[in-house]
Every structure is written in C-alpha cells, then in structure tokens.
Symmetry: C5
Subunit: 329 residues, 5 copies
Amino acid sequence: MSDSAIVDCAFYEGGRRQAGDLTYEEAAEKTKYSTKEGAFVWLGVVEPKEAEFKEIAEKYGLHELGVEDAIEAHQRPKIEMYDDTLQVVVKTAVYTGQEDLIEIGELIIFVNRKFIITVRHGKGPLDDVRKRIEERPDLVESGTGAVLHQILDRVVDDYEASAAAFDLDLQDVEKQVFSEERTNPAQRIYRLERETIDFYRAVRPLMDVVDGLARGQYDLVGDPLHEYFRDVHDHLQRVHGEILGFRDLLSSSLQANLTQVSVQQNEDMRKISAYAAMLAVPTAIAGIYGMNFKHMPELDSPFGYPLALAIMALVCLVLFRKFKQSGWI
Amino acid sequence: MSDSAIVDCAFYEGGRRQAGDLTYEEAAEKTKYSTKEGAFVWLGVVEPKEAEFKEIAEKYGLHELGVEDAIEAHQRPKIEMYDDTLQVVVKTAVYTGQEDLIEIGELIIFVNRKFIITVRHGKGPLDDVRKRIEERPDLVESGTGAVLHQILDRVVDDYEASAAAFDLDLQDVEKQVFSEERTNPAQRIYRLERETIDFYRAVRPLMDVVDGLARGQYDLVGDPLHEYFRDVHDHLQRVHGEILGFRDLLSSSLQANLTQVSVQQNEDMRKISAYAAMLAVPTAIAGIYGMNFKHMPELDSPFGYPLALAIMALVCLVLFRKFKQSGWI
Amino acid sequence: MSDSAIVDCAFYEGGRRQAGDLTYEEAAEKTKYSTKEGAFVWLGVVEPKEAEFKEIAEKYGLHELGVEDAIEAHQRPKIEMYDDTLQVVVKTAVYTGQEDLIEIGELIIFVNRKFIITVRHGKGPLDDVRKRIEERPDLVESGTGAVLHQILDRVVDDYEASAAAFDLDLQDVEKQVFSEERTNPAQRIYRLERETIDFYRAVRPLMDVVDGLARGQYDLVGDPLHEYFRDVHDHLQRVHGEILGFRDLLSSSLQANLTQVSVQQNEDMRKISAYAAMLAVPTAIAGIYGMNFKHMPELDSPFGYPLALAIMALVCLVLFRKFKQSGWI
Amino acid sequence: MSDSAIVDCAFYEGGRRQAGDLTYEEAAEKTKYSTKEGAFVWLGVVEPKEAEFKEIAEKYGLHELGVEDAIEAHQRPKIEMYDDTLQVVVKTAVYTGQEDLIEIGELIIFVNRKFIITVRHGKGPLDDVRKRIEERPDLVESGTGAVLHQILDRVVDDYEASAAAFDLDLQDVEKQVFSEERTNPAQRIYRLERETIDFYRAVRPLMDVVDGLARGQYDLVGDPLHEYFRDVHDHLQRVHGEILGFRDLLSSSLQANLTQVSVQQNEDMRKISAYAAMLAVPTAIAGIYGMNFKHMPELDSPFGYPLALAIMALVCLVLFRKFKQSGWI
Amino acid sequence: MSDSAIVDCAFYEGGRRQAGDLTYEEAAEKTKYSTKEGAFVWLGVVEPKEAEFKEIAEKYGLHELGVEDAIEAHQRPKIEMYDDTLQVVVKTAVYTGQEDLIEIGELIIFVNRKFIITVRHGKGPLDDVRKRIEERPDLVESGTGAVLHQILDRVVDDYEASAAAFDLDLQDVEKQVFSEERTNPAQRIYRLERETIDFYRAVRPLMDVVDGLARGQYDLVGDPLHEYFRDVHDHLQRVHGEILGFRDLLSSSLQANLTQVSVQQNEDMRKISAYAAMLAVPTAIAGIYGMNFKHMPELDSPFGYPLALAIMALVCLVLFRKFKQSGWI
C-alpha cells in the first residue's frame, strides 16, 4: 500500500475476505459495481493526515463534517446520518496500569451497506475484531451492520475490563486510606477521580448512540441485530453504573482520608506532647532541689538524692502507665 | 439426576407437582406435548458450566444471548423478550452480618407458558419459594406467571429484610460516632457506603423491570397478576427510598465523624498541654530561687523554702481550678 | 362494640350522623341496601390484629393486598384502585419535641361511595377530623370524597405545623453552632437530618397521590373537589420545598459546625501555648543566672537579683501585651 | 375610605383613571354594569383582616380557597383559575442590606376582565407600578392583563436588583475568607445560604406560573402579551441561574473558609511553638552550666560566662534565621 | 459613517460584498427593494447607546423587547421569534489568562432573510467571522442563515479554546495542591470555580438555542444547514461536559487541598515539637545534676561532667534516630 495511514483494506464477499490487498481506490471502485448483498469493503485507517483522508473521503463520498471529525478526533461519542452513510464516533478505553490508568482513544466509523471505514486514533482493538470476524463467515455474510456490532461489542468489553481493573485500583487505595501506615493517598484518589470523569465522558454519550441502534432508528441495522445491540446497551449501562459508584466512593475516600490522616498526625503529636509533658515532672522536681535556700532539710539527708531520683522515676512511671491506658502513647 | 448443576426438575399440572423426578430432557419433551393450561416444567439450575447449560438451552430453545448471561452472571437486572420467552435477571440480597454485610447473588429466569428455568448464582431463596408454591395448588394452577411473581416477591422481601438489618447496623455506627469513647468508625462507615452502592445497583434497575410487568407489557403476565406486581413495585420503591436515605446518612456520618474525632483528639491535646503549662510555673519559680545572686534575702530566711513550695502549690491549685472550669482538663 | 380495634362506626345520611352505634357487621349491611346519594358508613379502626381485620375486610369486600397493607403498616404513601374501592396510604406526622422530634404514624383508608374505612397506626388526627365533619352537614352530604379530602387536608396541615416546629429547632441549632459557648451540636444536627429524611419519605410520595386526586384520575372524587385537592397539593409542595431547604441547611450546619468547633478548640490551644511560651522566658533567664561560672559580675552586684526579677517581669509584660494584641490570649 | 386595609380603589376607563375615590362596594357595582372593553376596577388591599376581606370577597365573588390564601399569606407562588378569575400568588423580594438581607413579601392577585384586586403582605412595589401605569394610557387601555404583566415585570426586576446586591455581598464575604486578617465569616456565609434558599423558593415556582402565562394557557392574557410574559420568564430564568450559582459558591466558600481558618490558626500555633522551641536551647545550655560537678573546667575560665552567653545568642540567631526561612515565624 | 457605534455596514449580493460603505439608513432602503435570493445587509454595531439604537431599530422594524435586550445586554442566551425576525442572544468567551480568566461578552443578533444585525458587547470574534465569510462567495450566497451559522460556530470554537486553556490552568492548580512546597491555592481554586459557573451559564442555555436551530424549528435556517448546526451542538455538548468535569474536579481539589495543607502544617508542628521534646532530655538531666543535695557521689567524680554530657548527647542521638525513623523530623 502506498500510504502508511491505511493499515488494512479488503473486499469481503460471500462470507469471506477476498484474496489480495487492494488500494483504497480499487476498493472504492468495487463498492460501486458490486450489487451482491453482504459484499463490502472494510478500510482501516490510523491517524490520517488531512490531505490524505480528504482524498479517501472524496472517493467514498463522505460528508465534509464527518471528514473533519475523522482528522481532528477529540469528538464526543455520537452517531450521525449523512445521506445513506452512518458516522459513529466511539471512545476506546484501554487499561494500562500506568500513570494514565485508562488510556482513552477514539474510533470514527463510516458505514453503509457497501463499505465500512474505520479511523482509529490511539490504541484500539480493531485488529482483533477483524481477525475474529474473518474467522466467522456467518458474521461476514450479514454485512456491515454485524461488523459495526462486533466493533462496538468489543469496545464495550474493553470498558468492562477497564472498569474491573479500576475497581482493583480503588480497593488498593481504600486499603492505603485505612492502613496503619502513615500514607496519604490524596493525590492518587484525585488522579483516579480525573480518570473516572474521562471514562464517564466516553461511556455516557455512547449509551444514547447504542440505544438508537438497538431501537432500530437506522435502516442499516436490521431487526435480528437489535437484540445484539440491546445486549451491548445492557453492558454499557452496567459500566455506567459502576462508574457512578466509583465517583461516589472516591468522593467518600477523599473525606475518609482526611479523617484518617488527621487522626494519624494527631496521634503523633499527642505522643510527642505526652512524652514531653512526662519529662517536665523530673525537671520541675530537679528545679526545686536546685534552689539555693539555706534551710532545705532534705538536702542534708544522705537519702535525699536517691529519694529524689526515686520520686522522679516513680512519677514518670505512673504517668507512663496512665498515658498508656488512655491510649495517648 | 446425572448432573450436579440441576438441583430440581419437576412437572406441574392441575395445581400440583407430578410425582417422580425428571431429567431435563424428559421435562423438555413434556413441555412440547402438554397442551393443558397451567401445566409447566420448573427446572432449577445452580451455577451451571458452559457446556452443560448450552445443552439445556438447546433443548428448551433459549436465545444465544440469554444463555451467555446465564453462564457468566454479573448482569444488570433486566428483562428481555426473546421470541415468546421472557428472560428476567434479578439480584438477590442476603444479609449475612459479616464483612460483606449484604451478599449479592444473581438469578436468571427464563419463563414462558410451558416452562420456567431458574438459574441461580450465589445464595438465593428459591428452595423456599418452590416449597411455598407447592403447598398452594391455586398458585401452581395459575401457571408460570404466578411462579415468577412469587420469586420476585420473595427477592424483594429479602431486600426489605436486608435494608432493615442494614438500618440497625447504621444506627450502631451512629452510636459509635457520637459515643464518648475514642473510636473512629471511618472505615466501617466507608464499608457500609460500598454496600449501599452495590445494593442500590441491585434494586434500582429492578424497579423498571417490575414496573413493566405491572403495566402489562408482557403477555405472559395477565391482568389479575398486575396488581400483585404493582405491590412488589411498591415494596421496591420503599427499599429504594431507604437506600437513598442510607446514603445521605452515611455521607453525613462521615462528616460528623470527622468533627467528633477531631474534637476528641483536640481534647486530649488540650489536656496534655494544660498539665504541661501548669508544671511550667513551679519550674520557673524554682529556677528563680536557683539563681546564684549573692544578695537574695529570701534564701536566708528559714521560711523561704516552705514558702516557695507553698506558692508553687498554690499557683498550681489555682490554675488547676481555672482549667477545670474552662473545661480544659 | 365487642372489639377494641374499632374505635368508631357510624352511618351518615342526609348530612348527619345517624343516632346509635353500629357493629361493623350491621354497618356493612346498611351499605348494601342504602341507595341514597351521600349516605355512607365511616368505620374507624386502630392497629387491628390480623384475624380481626380479615373479618372486616370480608364483610366489606376489600382486596387481599390492601388488607395486608392495613395490618402490617410500614407502607409507602400510595393510592391504589381495587375494583371500585380506592386504597390510600398516608403517613401522619406529629411534632412531639422529644427525642423523635416528628412522630410518623400511618393511615390506611379504604373508600368508595358506600363506605370509608380508616385504619390508623400510631398517632393521627382522625378524631378531630370526624368531629369537624359532623359539625358541617354540607360536608357530610357531599359523601366520602369530601371526607377523604378533609382527612388529607388535616394530615397536610399537621405536616405544615411539624415543618414550622422543625424550623424553630433548626434555628436553635444554628444558634448553638455559632454561639460563643463551647458546644458541639453535631449529634443534634445529625438527628435532625435523620428526621428530615423520614419526613421527606412521608411527604414526597404523597404528592403524586394528591396530584392524581386533583387531576380527577379517580371517579370517586368529582369535579368540585378537584380544586380542593389542588389546594392540598399546593400545601404539600410548600412542605416539600421546606424539607429540601432543611436538608441543605443541615448539611451546611454540619460543615459550619466543624469550622466553629475547630476554631474554638484551636483558640484554647493557642491560649495555653502562649501562656506556656511566656513562662519559658523567666525560666531561661533564671537558668542563666543559675549557672555556676566563677566570673559572673552580675551575681555580686546588690542590684543583680531585683534587676533580674524586673527584667523577667518586663519581658512577660511585653509578651502579654503583644499576645493580647494578636488576639492570642 | 372607611377601612384602613384598602389603600387605593379606582375605576379605569378609556385609558385613564376616573376621578374620585370609590368605596370597594361602589367599585364592585361599576364592574357589573360597565360593558366597555378595557374598563376595570383596581382595588389595592394591604394585609386585610379576615372579616374585612371576606366581605370584599363576597362582593367580587372570589372563591373560598383563594380568600383563605389572601388572608393567611405564606403561600407558595402559584396560579389558579377559579371560574373566570385568575388567582396569582407571587413573592416579592426587597434587598434591605440588613440582617435579613432580602425581605420576602407576598402578593396575591385576583384578576379577571372586570377587576384586579391586589392583596399585599409585607413590602411590595405596587404603588410604583400603579403610578407608572397611570402615566401610560395605552397600558391602561389594554386592560387587566397588561396590569398583571406590569406587576410581575416589576416583581422580577426587584428580584434582579436583589440578586445583584446579593452578589456584592457574596464578593464581600469572599474577600473576608481570603483576607490576611484573622476573620471567620462562617456565620455570615451560613446566613447568606439561608437567604438564597428563601429566595430560591420565591423564584423557582414563579417560573412555572409565568411560563403558563407566556404559553397562553389563560384566556385573560391575549396573544400580544405572550411575548412580554416570555420576556419576564427569561429574566426569571436568569435570576434562577444566578441563585443556583450563589448556592454553589456559598458551599465552596464554607469549605474554603475552613481551610483558610485552619491555615491561619495553624500559623499562629507554629509561630508560638517555634519561639518556645528556640528558647529551650539557652535553657538547656544554662542547665548544663548550672550543674554542680566539681570538675567543670569551663566554670573557672574568666571567658566561660561571656562565651556561654555568646553561644546561646548564636544558636538562637541561627534558629531564628532557619525558622524565618522555613516561613515558620 | 456618522456614528461610532456602527463598525461596519455592507450590502451583499451574488456572493460578494458590494463596494462602498453604506449608512444604515441607505442599507435599510436596500433591503426593502432588493428581491434577489441571498441578497442581504450585514450591519455591525458595538455597544450602542439607547437613542442611537432605537433609530436603527425603527428603520429595520425590530421589536421593542429585542431592542431593550440589545441596549442593556446582560441577557441569558436565548432565541426569540418576533414576526419574521429571529433574535439570538449569545455569550462570547475569550480566555485572557489574567485575573478574570475567561472574559464573557455578549452578542445580540437580529436576523431575517433581508438583513443580519449583530450587536456586540465586550470582546467578540465578529471581525474575523466577517473576513472569513467575505472570502467564501458560496457562504455569502447561501444568505443570512449561513452567516448565523458561521458566527455561532466561531463562538463555540472560542468556548472550546477557553475550555482547553482552562484545563491547563486547572492542571497547574493540581500541581500546586500536591506539590511539596507549602502553598495554599484555595483562593485560586475558588476563583476558577467562579469562572466555571459563569462559563456554564453561557454554555448551558445556548445548547437549547442551537438544538432548536438544528431541529429546523425556524424557517430561516433551511435543511442543508441543519447538519451544520447539529455539528455546533455536538461541540457545545463537549464543552458542557468538560465544564461539568471541571466543577467536579475543582470541588475535589478544594477538599484535597484542605488535606494537603493540614498535612503539611501538621508536619511542621510535629517537627518543631519533636525537636523541643528532644531538648527537654538534656535539660532534665542537667536539672538533676544541678540539685544541691550534699550527698551526690557523681558530682565529685572527675568523670562526672564529661559522662553527663556524653549521656545527654547519646540520648539526643538515639531520639534523633528514632524520630527520623518515624518520619517525625
């Protein structure tokens, strides 16, 4: 293929991929003359440059507004009908476990009966999906609607995996919050919160998109597929519910963390103060016997010194016990 | 029965359970040829393995998507119509009183006029329900819709019991928060919050499911049952309202707990500091009479030492009184 | 009357109560043969036992589900139509001023053209309502719909009285929060919050009930009564708005209380610390002149001691002034 | 006029006020016989007593429920149609700048083609409105609907003025929160919050009232007036948005104030502690040279004392510098 | 041009601007006699005075209410239809990076087939828009609807730029919150919150306006433009989602900041207290050997003094190590 943005371009007919790689121009030709039901081109594009994608768009007759979306990315998930071509924008989510826990990518899909063009920005599961589809002739035969379903199904599966991994992270943070060790995971909680907000913005608008597909608002997606999209919608709802739960829990974590941190720090201060207060007693006693009065009978006694030391030790011991009982030290 | 996942399989006709255990294949046969109104098979399955349940599904003609749900569980409560078979997914809630206060299980029910298949994951009240139903021929005679009602009614009754037990737990936490003892139930509050979120996710979506049944959106559930499902819906609404109340109360508990903990810790610090400050007075006085000036008339007086001690004692006493009055010690 | 659960049973006709107490069986007979418009039986029941109320229910043909509600109570406010009999469940609220500020009771009302059965759990204003109605023949003549209105009107009036009393309580708490005295009304705030949640759960669902009555969804309540129910609805909306306001204010109170408590406690600590710090100065000076160096010229001077004391006093005075200015002591 | 509750009563015809004050009885007569379009009576009443207003109500045929509202006040803003007479309840808001920042009054308006009766409780802008209307014959000629619009327009203008003044107050509080001075405006923030809640309860329900008028749900308000009521509605929406903003900001202020107060108090404590810690150094050194060991060579040196003082001074200076750098003092 | 409020006035026909500046009176004449499709006047006005704009309004037949809006500004975004002229009110947002991060301006647009009048208050992107339009004859030819789209498109683009810049600001604040340095960005967080509230009030109501245009509720905006307005709506939704995210994050920042500030201040206090407590040990020991007992054998030993010093040093060292390990100093 002459151009690096195009990662795969193939013609499917009769349930299987036709041998031989095509250029996108050849593929576009094919879509025009093929009249067979279930015959279509699948063109996979990755982060195309403006000039390049405009040429593709022209060949396939894509709408100006959709083309802009595909080049710029940073769209909100949505579905749009331009003439007979559906444009679906989806966010992909991949759990990485690193700083940006959940990496959000974007998928712009142009689909009608003759072709499906997938434009990917960032990571995305398209290779897997294509492989899986090519292994199932029955899916390929059902045409582009089934391919669209497979893609969305996989995207939402990835959401569920991300949510599950996120939950583990959250539980880890909870352990930190309530652990005996002096940790302050405030920043980590905050970062998780940022993640959920991004995640939510990927998931929430997609629910309306998939709902529309499940209700049969688009001719492209026929009756037998509705139930499958409804299934995707159910999964989306679950992820959505989980995210809302995460946000509530994170908000409570932040508050609980404030309590825990303040409790732990106060305990430290109390311990230090209690020891210092304990030491003030021998200091005061020593001060008394350090006074220079002429007439201090204790000073002359041979037992004066050891007695004074004994009293100091005793008082400290008693205080130590009492403080221990009060849980102060 | 040859297979451990099937816990009970029986044929009901004319208001009573027909004698003799059936294999699920035999039962499936029966459903095909029985034409009597109110005659049906009830097949109870527990956490089936994939292969096993797929065979069952084939015999009873269950839809591919529903089968996946039944095997994997972890669904959101929902109702789905596949051909003439309703699939209902419900979460069960059992209050255990242990770490996971409320144990959430799952029930997937496939039901049409001829059969009802209940797939259970985790704990669930199905044995009880079956026993109760078998004792009431009038219920059995009304067919599978009445059985479905009995199951949901029981599930929601369990919700109410769980909510009531949860409320006791919450009141216990409240007592801890406001008790004089130095306790910090932050973690327990947080754990309760997590529970309510799970509980909420079980209850909220079920309201739509039961509402649909009460409004007669499904032929299987005829008119005389609508009022009964509406009754279940009322109970669900009550549980729902209670859960929302729990969440508000828990959120306030967390905040109140921060106040109480900080008040109590501050009291400790204040007490320690007050005592230490009190001790600083004799120390200062002793320091003064420990100075080595040549001309310090008090030092020569025979009453100097006892007077000095008396002054120290007096000042300490006065301070003690004052601090006591201020509520500092 | 043979049975204690029945507190009043009378037959009304032509605008007035017919002389003579009836048993509920006699009254039930009357409803069957009386054909006069506006002639009806009003049967008042209080916390009936199961067996007893089931007999009553049979005589009057009440629906199984409604009967359960009447015996168990603990329902959510609702309205239900069983055949030609309306079942209305209402929560009553009585401000007691004691621990449970607002005592929530329950009223289950079965009403059709021929009879009205009121089942009361806990306190309720029914005696008053009956007295007021019996004094107004025009109301009695309008039949059971007017009686229902009178009851709901009174229930909502009680809500308003409770809300007004609650507001005074809240203002009292606010005074405590911002008072100079060292009080910590956190627990009281929390308790008020619990009350509002219960109160809210009594009021919110009733709005839908009354709205349905005002919109004429039930034949029993004819056109001239709609305006009167709309009036009740307006009052409910006001109470509802007030409760929402209470909740916001309580939530802010809790936060403001944290601030106030922490400010006051910090002031105490600061005062103690400032005094202790002040005392450290003479201690240090005394320490210096307590050193045992051979060559310390001040020690030999006859003015050494008084000067040292004067310096100590002066420094303390200056510090005292400065701390006073800073508002520290 | 014989009665003090009636503040103004006049008959308008042909665009202008007819000379001569009328009693309300005379005016009521006029409304019966005048058939001219745009001829109407405007009766202004202030906080009427029950008996008095009941007489007025009888003359003008007002509905029992509306009369109760007019006497008691304390209604929620609403619009009600009784026969051909509209009853509109509106809250007035006057910014006073004193304790109760925004004084909420009430206006009950009874209006049909023949008369408009305005009942005022508390302050209200009716005098101004009447004056302005009497100066514009075109308005008077359009009849009572235009008068109603003028009143509502003015009420909402007052809302906007109150909101603007409130915003200044809020900005003042913000300055206090973040000022260097040790102020704690928690109570003031709380009081503002209470105000916004009352204000909100005046504004929010009025939106539905005015929306109904703008949509032409009432015959009295004809088509050319709809746009004018829509304009009032726009202004209401703006005030509504501002109030919601106030509430968010006040809630954040309370939180920020807690932070600021705790920061400032901590700074004080840190400063005190740092100075006390600094003083502990010379005390410790002095203590060492105050020990009574026989063999302490420094004590005999003539430079011992000045050197010890120098060391003390040096250490204090170094600490002072370090603490200063750390921002501790 | 005779008047400074008018910044540009031109007649467009056949896709291009007609040469020669016009007075607004001449332009108004043109609109009356030109019948060509796509021929229109674009009159640009900036912050007009009342008298001046009333003259313009009369020439172009603008509605009294719209004229008020245009003079006063401070409107809520809205769309209004007066006869055949649309009035659109939009808020402009320019990120300045200074105290008022986002400067909110206002644009009032009167538009029908014959003319478009744009009234600007504050900064706005109109010059740019006009330039861009004049460079594209195809846009000019499509008439005033296309001009309206261009303006709104640009306004929303500015929103997106402002939101992006705001996000950078927010990230900067987050860094401050969690930095090791002792900063307290509470005020900055609060200021950002105020900004988001203003921003929200600009964006939220505009969504309804643009939605109405995209759904074809106004004849002026024909079918081919709907998709373009829908595109604007998508962008608005994205900005809206971002703002909601900002608010959640700012609220969490404020809370996290409280935690961080309190942690840092507590660390300071702990460090100071720990050092002071450490110093109390040699003071106490020195005090003991400063006592004046006759019989203190250590005092006579030649190794007494160095040993005492060594013990002091040792204890301090041990404590230092221990405190270091505990993370206290």
